[in-house]
């Protein structure tokens, strides 16, 4: 267990009687910075440093090749996905990209027909998919008039911001 709020309050009581306006405390388990503001009030920044104690489980043969701690670095696969998707853009094709990172859905609900399929004619405000980010559903619109030429990303796939979802052949 880490430092409790009561511990922090005790430390602040000690500091209040002293002429210091900053304290940094670091142990193997946490790093605490206390800073006195211009108005005399204290601000704290706490970092818990202790390493997770991961228990092995029966289903961990798979986990051994997917280290737990590294899955959270959000940016790592973005460049690969984007460059791969960019290579195919033709002159008369307009890319529809994700407005923000999240999970791509082609249909309004599981089991429902997709918003668009290849060949569908769309206007700039036609909804062509949904990106779910932090439990919020964000509509993706076509942005241009034309026909859907290609759907690049599969339903339910995760995409970084700016990933190409589909391509639209512009109307001439």
């Amino acid at each position: 267990m880490d430092l409790t709020n009561a511990d922090v309050q005790d430390i602040l009581h000690l500091l209040d009687g002293l002429p210091f306006s900053e304290l940094s405390l670091e142990t193997a388990r946490f790093r605490l910075s206390l800073r006195r503001g211009a108005d005399g009030g204290w601000a704290q920044a706490l970092e818990v440093l202790g390493q997770p104690n991961v228990l092995p489980t029966a289903s961990d043969q798979r986990a051994a090749t997917e280290p737990l701690a590294e899955a959270s670095s959000a940016g790592e696969d973005s460049s690969a996905e984007n460059s791969a998707a960019e290579a195919g853009s033709g002159a008369d094709l307009t890319d529809v990209r994700t407005p923000l990172l999240g999970t791509f859905y082609r249909a309004p609900r599981p089991g429902a027909p997709p918003f668009v399929t290849v060949g569908a004619v769309v206007a700039p405000d036609t909804v062509v998919g949904i990106i779910e980010t932090m439990k919020l559903m964000n509509s993706v619109t076509a942005g241009v008039s034309g026909a859907i030429a290609e759907i690049v990303l599969a339903d339910g796939e995760f995409a970084e911001q700016g990933t190409v979802l589909m391509r639209i052949r512009s109307q001439r």
Binding site: G41, W42, E47, P52, V54, L55, T57, L68, S72, T133
Partner: protein, 452 residues
């Protein structure tokens, strides 16, 4: 009776940190079940042990009943604490726990089923003598017009299969009824696969007030009320206890109604009975019961001095309540501001990313429940709550003033947050006066209310 020694926490974020704190104080070991996105999180570092559930998407990890129960069994836990959201109100998890010989820290499967279905919950509310919003199912325009004449205008047309604010259409008067019913039935059939519609009185403006209850399967007590009317997209952003400007009789009636509802279910555990207060007609209606710990529970803890998670664990162990109604003393006023990773200036657009720095004010009257720290990722798969800032004052005016001060001293870098919106809200005349209705925040965002 089972003394719990090792609890698996099937959740993440600030509530996981919150539960670990109480367990540590009680001498109970914690095992945190994590998705691949959370293996390095603050709660993972604080828990006694961590067990992997599955990949980052919730369906493959936090929502997978089998994975959660197997993790608890493998980790040698004797109970599961589900937190809020995810599987917390799924009877399926409670049932699977029973089958695996684990204690589910929450109500019984039967109670979860009773409150999980809106129509069933409404039936229980009526049977317990609670007021419900006048209304009923209708099969067409003629029936709708007859019913509307009885319950009064304006009315709200709802899809029976809808939920979460979807499929709701207010109708101001008789002239617009036929068209709205036709569109609503067609839409309900298309969107929800169920053309049935429901008509009820449109209570507007309304306030969202709820009562905290705690039961042991025999006896139920309440721990006061909370006001949660500051909402955006049906999501609460600010909560306070007690609910301001309610009137003694209304407050007492709502608390009694909450107890009557929970008693009818012989409720065991921590729960919240939600009500809609009709600002114009006065009076209140039963909305639903949340059968779990809630995000906003700290404001109740702040004015009652209780540790609600500790009480929840106590009754889950099979004990009778150790508190009587007379032991509940509520003093002062508490406000909670939720700090979400959302950009207020851009329609509350979610803002996942990485926390560069996080610093909060440290005062005896401020409580910060958070899981963010420098370097922590804010993954896109889960909700956007970063921290809850809870401030207590001797009265509401002091609490509001302290919240203004506390917000000004919070700093979160790396992602957009709702801190600026909360500052704006705390400075607004309407919130300052108290008792705003559920549309207040939208009007504030649109610049339709005056600023202090």
């Amino acid at each position: 009776m089972a003394v719990l020694r090792r609890i698996l926490i099937a959740n993440r974020g600030e509530i996981a940190v919150r539960i670990i704190r109480t367990c540590a104080a009680l001498g109970i070991e914690t095992v945190l079940a994590v998705s691949d996105a959370d293996g390095d999180s603050m709660p993972a570092r604080l828990a006694d042990a961590v067990v992997r559930l599955g990949p980052a998407p919730p369906a493959a990890s936090y929502l997978d009943v089998k994975a959660v129960v197997s993790a608890a069994v493998a980790a040698g836990a004797d109970a599961i604490h589900p937190g809020y959201g995810f599987l917390s109100e799924k009877a399926q998890l409670a049932t699977a726990c029973e089958a695996a010989g684990l204690v589910f820290i929450g109500p019984t499967p039967v109670q979860l089923d009773a409150v999980g279905d809106k129509v069933r919950a409404r039936g229980h509310a009526e049977a317990a003598g609670l007021p419900t919003v006048p209304g009923g199912a209708v099969d067409g325009t003629a029936a709708a017009a007859d019913l509307a004449a009885v319950i009064g205008w304006p009315v709200l047309v709802k899809a029976v299969g809808g939920g979460g604010g979807r499929g709701l259409r207010p109708v101001p008067g008789p002239a617009a009824l036929a068209d709205t019913i036709a569109v609503a039935m067609a839409e309900a059939a298309g969107a929800f696969g169920d053309p049935r519609i429901y008509l009820e009185r449109y209570v507007h403006p309304g306030r969202h007030v709820e009562v905290q209850v705690l039961g042991d399967g025999e006896r139920v007590i309440h721990v006061g009320d909370r006001d949660c009317s500051v909402q955006r997209r049906y999501q609460k952003l600010v909560e306070e206890a007690p609910a301001p400007l309610l009137g003694d009789k209304l407050r007492a009636d709502m608390r009694q109604a909450a107890i009557a509802f929970a008693e009818r279910l012989r409720y065991r555990g921590l729960g919240t009975v939600e009500f809609l207060v009709d600002c114009e007609r006065g009076g209140f209606y039963f909305l639903e019961m949340n059968a779990r710990i809630q995000v906003e529970h700290p404001v109740t803890e702040a004015i009652s001095g209780l540790d609600l998670v500790a009480e929840q664990i106590w009754v889950a162990e099979g004990n009778r309540l150790r508190l009587g109604q007379d032991d509940i003393e509520l003093t002062g006023h508490a406000i909670e501001c939720r700090i979400n990773a959302e950009d207020w200036s851009d329609s509350f657009r979610p803002s996942p990313g990485t926390i560069a720095a996080a610093s909060f004010p440290a005062e005896s009257w401020i409580r910060v429940d958070t899981h963010v720290q420098a370097g922590a990722p804010v993954p896109p798969w889960y909700d956007s709550l970063l921290a809850k800032l809870i401030v207590t004052g001797r009265d509401r005016a002091e609490a509001v003033a302290r919240m203004r001060d506390a917000l000004a001293r919070c700093q979160i870098d790396g992602v957009a947050t709702t801190l600026p919106m909360q500052v704006e809200l705390m400075n607004s005349d309407g919130f300052g006066s108290g008792g705003v209705d559920t549309s207040y925040l939208d009007r504030l965002v649109l610049g339709q209310v005056s600023h202090g």
